[in-house]
Amino acid sequence: MRSVIFCRRTIKELLRDPLNYIFCLGFPLVMLVIMTIVDRSIPKEAGMVLFHIQSLAPGIALFGLTFVMLFTCLQVSKDRAGAFLMRLYASPMQAIDFISGYTMPLMIISILQIAIAFVASIMIGRATGYVFQPVNVLLCILVLLPSALMFIAFGMFFGTLLNDKAAPGICSIIISAASMLGGVWMDVDAIGGTFGKVCRALPFYHGVNAARLALQGRYDDLGKPLLIILIYAITIYFVSAILFKWKMQSDLK
């Protein structure tokens, strides 16, 4: 119950910060439009499918989630910076109330954000002649949830460790890494060697890949990347929850 009350508070804090709208909604939508224009200007003969809307949409959705990470991180570090935390620590709030009270609202925001990215993508699809299958869109949204959880966990992790000055820097590294190495902006499948291995060792590529396969209805290939991203998400989430709990105990030394 306390976690639901804390969740309501966190939602209010997040929705009242205009930066959240600019980055969580505005920026991904702008990139969606820009990359569609880029896609239209690449000659057909080049055989470049990465920025076709059916491949771009899941990538943009995941790109948007990296900003949810940034805002998780900022919210947690801001909460930790002020005396307000002392008040919460002195209250009956326990670590689990904090952790679930951060996770729930940010999952809701993630789902909203993914949905909005898809509404925009479907409209772009209309204009460019690609028809989205509703079932696959829903499946894709589901398949993106482990990634959402993972980015929230990253946000909690760095928000617990860093102050709100250092947090944006670290987060922007992960935002770049996740979108580049995850294959949102480049074709990781075409990359071999050590660099390709690094991309495939990180969770982001599998999150993007699973989302694309889901959207394109390639159910047979979906299992493996989905399992990988799921394991990553759960592991990272537990690590960050344990870190939060440990940090709370050490704050109260």
């Binding site: 306390r2 009350i5 804390f6 309501r8 508070r9 209010k12 804090e13 009242r16 910060d17 002020g82 005396a83 307000f84 935390l85 002392m86 008040r87 919460l88 620590y89 002195a90 209250s91 009956p92 709030m93 326990q94 109260l252 030394k253």
Partner: protein, 239 residues
């Protein structure tokens, strides 16, 4: 008379620094108890330990006959605190801040709304009730921060330098609010203002460099030192 707080040989060290040096205290239920001391005396550290924000290095604390170490979660539900620094959620309105805290302490939604209405009146917060906390002036934020400690109807209330940063009028108004609670709520407040301790407290402990140097009512402290006002008594004790 039942004891709200019983402290035996409480000690708190930060590394080699001893912030609280084996203090022993009793606070009776329903009384206003002041910890009086200059900056760095160890008042905040004592409050932090009593509210579970800091673990004692040594000693025993019982609050409402519950052990601080093993029954902290139960104790927390009965207490509330106004920290030395103003502690509010910046993007919530005054009303939302108060409702949030009331609900965190287990009030139902409807009970919280009712209680908040009353507290807003008690603290004359009507004119700012729908303003975001971060837009308020320092004095208003302070009042909100203290109101947030009272809204949960604690049996035991900790006020760490409650009037810090308040102007004379707001200070007097807060004193009146505190006096209204007399008898119903046990209050531990810290201050370095003599007149504050004098006008509010049933009992005072003078804290100097982590130690309790003297304890008693204002009259008893004056008697003990042979001085005729609290300030002179304090100086005699502290030197």
């Amino acid at each position: 008379m039942a004891q709200a707080i019983v402290i035996k040989n409480l000690r708190k060290e930060y590394g080699s620094k001893v912030a609280v040096k084996d203090i022993s205290l009793r606070v009776e239920e329903g009384k206003i108890f002041s910890l009086l001391g200059v900056n760095g005396a160890g008042k905040t550290t004592t409050i932090r330990v009593l509210t579970g924000l800091s673990r004692p290095t040594d000693g025993e604390v019982r609050i409402f006959d519950k052990d601080l170490k093993s029954e902290l979660q139960e104790i927390k539900k009965l207490c509330n605190l106004s920290p030395q620094e103003t502690a509010i959620a910046p993007n919530l309105t005054v009303k939302e801040n108060l409702e949030f805290i009331a609900e965190i302490y287990g009030f139902s939604r409807s009970k919280a709304i009712e209680k908040v209405r009353q507290i807003i009146e008690d603290f004359s917060l009507q004119e700012v009730e729908d303003n975001k906390a971060k837009t308020l002036s320092g004095g208003w934020q302070r009042r909100l921060s203290i109101a947030m400690a009272l809204v949960t109807e604690p049996k035991l209330l900790f006020l760490d330098e409650p009037t810090l940063g308040l102007d004379v009028l707001a200070r007097r108004e807060l004193w009146r609010s505190i006096e209204k609670l007399k008898g119903r709520v046990t209050i531990v407040l810290t201050t370095h203002y003599m007149e504050e301790a004098e006008s509010l407290s049933d009992s005072i402990a003078v804290m100097v460099k982590g130690e309790i140097k003297a304890q008693g009512s204002v009259e008893e402290l004056k008697l003990q030192t042979g001085k005729d006002n609290l300030e002179d008594a304090f100086i005699a004790i502290a030197e």
